[in-house]
Assembly symmetry: C2
Homo-oligomer: 219 residues x 2
DNA sequence: TCTTTTCCGTTGTAAAAACAACCGACTTAT
DNA sequence: ATAAGTCGGTTGTTTTTACAACGGAAAAGA
């Protein structure tokens, strides 16, 4: 597990904790490691977990198969990212997704209760981890809510308006740059790229917006 | 603040804590109260907050106005529910939504850092609150991810398949009852009710599903 | 420089969704 | 018992979207 400490140091969860302290934290938390070959399942739908997982090597997909067998990829997890945090609560029920390695991968995981119930003074940085974890989930939460807000519009235009308005607000200006190219923006908003491109141009022709590449201006 | 203790006792955040202990927790957390008349803003877009809010009386809307002034309601908060948890992290930036009372309302709120940084032994149930809060956010997180999964399908049918498959999984049977009527389900999936009704009937005619009222069966 | 790839706007067509309007079955209130 | 309201299925029309295919500009690479 030691060799992954430099990776962990750069994660949100362990940010602000020195390498020596991470080592002692890992044992304090009862952290375990699991290695998976490409194609293997790390977690399966139906399992019950109460752990937080951190990917320290490789790449994994969180995916689900519907009743008729159609598969869809819900998210792609890269090194340093956390997953499983939605199932931390005792009443969260069985896992509804599969987690599968798309490259040879290693994950480090530990039981959430181990963090929450152990007295904070047990080890020096325990409290810091609680904070980090909390802020990480809180942050994820906000992003999910915002995305859901954009996607709740029924038309592509409504989704674009919602998204562009938010970026403008966040950047505090009616002229701003979005962190996506067209394809990525379309994927984020769950619409077809060419249809979105088309809609953007209509909005431009109607005098609502101006844009060039990833730079937009609301009028 | 005392009169709201029975309400708080029934919230997720204070579940498992006795009424006497809630009183001491509130002062330990530095909880404050804010009362708003119908129509007043509890929080405005652009504010910076690091508090968790609990609605103890009335009803409020979380809403946003886009750049061109179109208003949309993101969620309706009822008594006992928590909000603001997405902005707990220090780097979460300015609030992107407005929070407005649609009835005369009262909220109780306290700084998250007060929970996370104070030593757990400061008061008896402090640690319990940390757990409750964590599980509440974790739970919200899972629900958001699931909903996003359903909404990422491009067609109404895809959304329905995703949703129905999940409920079937969760209830562990291909026959199950959904907790929505048609209008509510359509609202949840962000589609038109009649179009959804239509699609459900097509799926039935194609032999994919059977249903009656809120009871469904996948075939 | 020449080739290849990426990005993105454009077009046309077929499919799908929204929207509005209506109806019958059923429930609830007066 | 009657009236009013809710719920959900159905239909037709209009708008919107997905999808596929193409082409030009710019960037990346050989």
């Amino acid at each position: 597990m030691k060799k992954y400490i430099p990776v962990l140091k750069r994660t949100k969860l362990f940010s602000g904790v020195g390498e020596e302290d991470i080592a002692s934290l890992l044992s304090c938390l009862g952290a375990r490691k699991k290695e998976c070959k490409k194609g293997e399942y790390i977690l399966r739908e139906g399992e019950h977990i109460s752990d937080i997982f951190i990917l320290v090597e490789g790449k994994i997909h969180i995916q689900k198969d519907d009743y008729w067998g159609n598969r869809s990829i819900l998210s792609v997890i890269s090194v340093g990212e956390m997953f499983g945090e939605g199932y931390a609560a005792p009443e969260s029920g069985a896992l509804l997704n599969d987690v599968v390695a798309v490259e040879d991968s290693s994950v480090i995981f530990f039981d959430v209760k181990r963090i929450l119930t152990t007295c904070s003074s047990a080890c020096r940085f325990h409290n810091m981890i609680v904070q980090n974890m909390f802020f990480a989930i809180s942050d994820k939460n906000r992003k999910l809510v915002q995305k859901l807000g954009h996607m709740s519009g029924r038309t592509t235009r409504a989704k674009l308006i919602s998204y562009l308005s938010e970026v403008a607000k966040r950047q505090g200006s009616s002229a701003f740059t979005v962190p996506f190219n067209r394809q990525q923006l379309a994927d984020y908003l769950c619409v077809d790229r060419s249809a979105m491109s088309n809609e953007l141009c209509k909005m431009r022709d109607e005098g609502m917006i101006k844009f060039e590449k990833s730079r937009f201006e609301l009028l």
